[in-house]
Amino acid sequence: MVSLAKLRDMLTWQRGAVMAALLAVSFVAVASADAHEESSHGRVPVPAHPEGKGDKCVRDTEYMKRHHMDELKHQRNETMRKGIRTKEMSLQNCIDCHASKETNSVLGKEGFCQSCHSYAAVKLDCFECHASKPKIAKPLHPVVSQAEKAGDGTLAGKTRQEMQANPVEPNTTGGASK
């Protein structure tokens, strides 16, 4: 005959086991859902990033997701106000690498910038002024290129030319000697 107390003990143990099993099942379910989302985005639409051209970004992805706007804003002020034109955090550097291989742009439905910004509903107004395509080596102004072909040496500033031709000539190093 089983005493009442023993029966209660048994039930408690069974309840614990059932709870543990349920927890385990739900954990596995969540984990598999995560894996599923990463592979095919599941039911939640996630913007598809085109692959960048370079090996890796200037910072890791998590940092860039959170802070790219701060870095760009910092850089813009440095460049605009002080003329500091370091490449690493410049918008041009981002675009050079992230422009889509098909459209050669960071805009458009599949564009690196626009796809994510429309997903997050954040207005993207950089490209009202800034070019959304990488810089291409443009042909020079016709007059300039003609002169270059003709071997005319008057293109660069005279000071610069003199200095390049004669780097240790004391009279031409005035800017440095101040």
Binding site: R81, G83, A156, A176
Partner: protein, 252 residues
Amino acid sequence: MSNNVDNTTNEKEQASGRRQFLGWGAAMAGLAIAPGITLFDLAHGRAPEEAASSKVRWGMLIDSGKCATGCDDCVSACGTENGFSGKLETDSQWIRKIELKDMRNGNSHSLPMMCQHCENPPCVDVCPTGASFKRADGIVLVDRHICIGCRYCMMACPYKARSFVHEELHDQNPDVPRGKGCVESCTLCVHRIDRGGQPACADACSAAGHNAILFGDLNDPNSEISKRVASSATTQVRADLNLNVGVRYQGI
């Protein structure tokens, strides 16, 4: 240094010796401290991480005697460099050619007119947001990020140098961001200067063989432009306003 030299031969010699010594010092300092890294570039190209310095003041000297009537190479070079399509009715104008004619004797001049890059710019004075500003090296610019397009600066400029962008623009030059709703003017091709170049108009003018536009550092007594400003009569347009402009004219 050279400005303080007296007329006596002895002192002249001393000064030239001093110049030479300083020059050699500069040459030594310019030597590479590591491959690819120099203390400073002997030409005006700064390192990308180096801020523009107030030791430099960029300016231009325009010789209207050499500026050919009817030639607009500088204007079209500016358009190509800075991405003016030429198709818009409201297209900006950063540089324009002006013909001056003395009606009494028929003597005529031609000259380009653009932002004069004043030392005391009225556009900067009136700007309510601080968008209009003067960089340390004397280049007057508009920070489009904070320009609200009020056009006060256009009213204040005595040289009519500024334009307002009325229409949406596309396919800008990556180095020259431009867009609707902002005021803009000649930047002295700041993106070229930062890389050690000179403005597109000056390049085009010398490439065409006119050599009417001389670009250089007005603060450097040994620069070509300073020597010419020191040795010949040059004019500041509207000198009565005491703006101390960076663009000087010769022969007007």
